[in-house]
């Protein structure tokens, strides 16, 4: 299926996903700078009345994500500690998915490499946090409940740990690609009113997939950094 993208005007349409990721990063940086400038005025503690970038991000991060992570990770201190990684993955994936809804752009997460990169970062980081928090006792997570089942449980646990980044990346990639394909097919069939429904579905799926990715990452981090004495 032929797809027009604005990057064909520059002539670099083979690198759609790299340029799309760079565009998402530029948008996030601009949003961050504008929030920072709005927070450094006087009376920054009071929320603004109008609908601005700062209030949108405040709703998403402080009301929604922070309570979610505090529930998953157990306490507000833990949520604050892991918030940069999880919040960045949420916003990057959300904006990257939403970029595909804008006509003329391909979503960066629609290429297999970008979700794999995000999932590998989460994989490396939750193992790192588990090792940092528990030391070498992190490997006891792989041993299972009883000590003489350890070789079998080790194999099963290692396989299930390696399936995690595969499943995270496949879920994100196939959802966004499939949704984009469905939008394309229905726009080819009926040109006028029906694609609006699929654009709505696309916005919902973008938000849901970013949310699922972040929630599962938070669950993996909480499983990795849980202390053994709390399980019983």
């Amino acid at each position: 299926m032929e797809h027009f993208s604005w990057f064909t005007l520059i002539g670099m349409d083979k690198y759609d996903y790299i340029l799309g990721s760079i565009l998402v990063l530029i948008l996030l940086t601009l949003a961050g700078l504008s929030i920072r400038s709005s927070l450094s005025k006087k009376d920054a503690v009071l929320p603004e009345e109008k609908f601005s970038i700062r209030t949108i991000f405040e709703i998403l991060t402080l009301d929604f994500l922070f309570d979610l992570f505090a529930n998953m990770l157990g306490s507000k201190k833990q949520a604050k500690k892991y918030f940069p990684l999880l919040g960045a993955s949420f916003f990057f994936i959300l904006f990257a998915n939403l970029l595909g809804i804008v006509p003329g752009f391909l979503p960066p997460t629609g290429n297999f490499n970008v979700p794999v990169a995000c999932a590998l970062v989460i994989f490396v980081m939750y193992n790192y946090y588990g090792l940092k928090e528990n030391g070498w006792a992190y490997l006891k997570h792989f041993a299972g409940p009883v000590i003489f089942l350890a070789p079998l449980m080790f194999l099963i646990e290692v396989i299930s740990h390696f399936v995690r980044p595969i499943s995270l990346s496949l879920r994100l990639f196939m959802n966004i690609t499939g949704d984009h394909m469905v939008l394309g097919i229905f726009t080819n069939l009926v040109h006028y009113i029906i694609p609006a429904l699929f654009v709505g579905l696309g916005i919902f799926v973008s938000f849901l997939q970013a949310f699922i990715f972040t929630v599962l990452s938070a669950i993996y981090i909480s499983l990795a950094t849980s202390h053994e004495t709390e399980i019983e």
Partner: protein, 108 residues
């Protein structure tokens, strides 16, 4: 005596397992009509069964969530979040089946 016999039998099975597959499995040529029938049926039926089973699973999850909300309407937002997570996880299994269906369909 028994131990020597068991070691010899394991060795013999290993030798047979290494030598037999070269002789026994002859491949059909790529792209025969039967291959295409198999690939098309696999792709179509695979995604159909996956979607049907996922519909049943998601129906059960939503039914449980709705009955929880009906009993306690105040807790509806706390019930909704795990329901959405459960639905997305069930749906991700369908997505794996869709990936295999795409791979099979690309080979027809």
């Amino acid at each position: 005596m028994k131990k020597a016999l068991s070691i010899l039998s394991i060795f013999g099975v290993a030798v047979l397992a290494a030598l037999v597959p070269d002789a026994a499995f002859a491949q059909e040529g790529t792209g025969g009509e039967l291959t295409k029938l198999g690939l098309a049926l696999g792709a179509g039926l695979g995604i159909a069964i996956a979607a049907g089973a996922a519909g049943l699973g998601q129906g059960r999850a939503t039914a449980a969530a709705l009955s929880g909300i009906a009993r306690n309407p105040g807790a509806s937002s706390k019930i909704l979040t795990p329901m959405i997570i459960g639905l997305a996880l069930i749906e991700s299994l369908v997505i794996y089946a869709l990936l295999i269906a795409f791979l099979l369909q690309g080979k027809i």
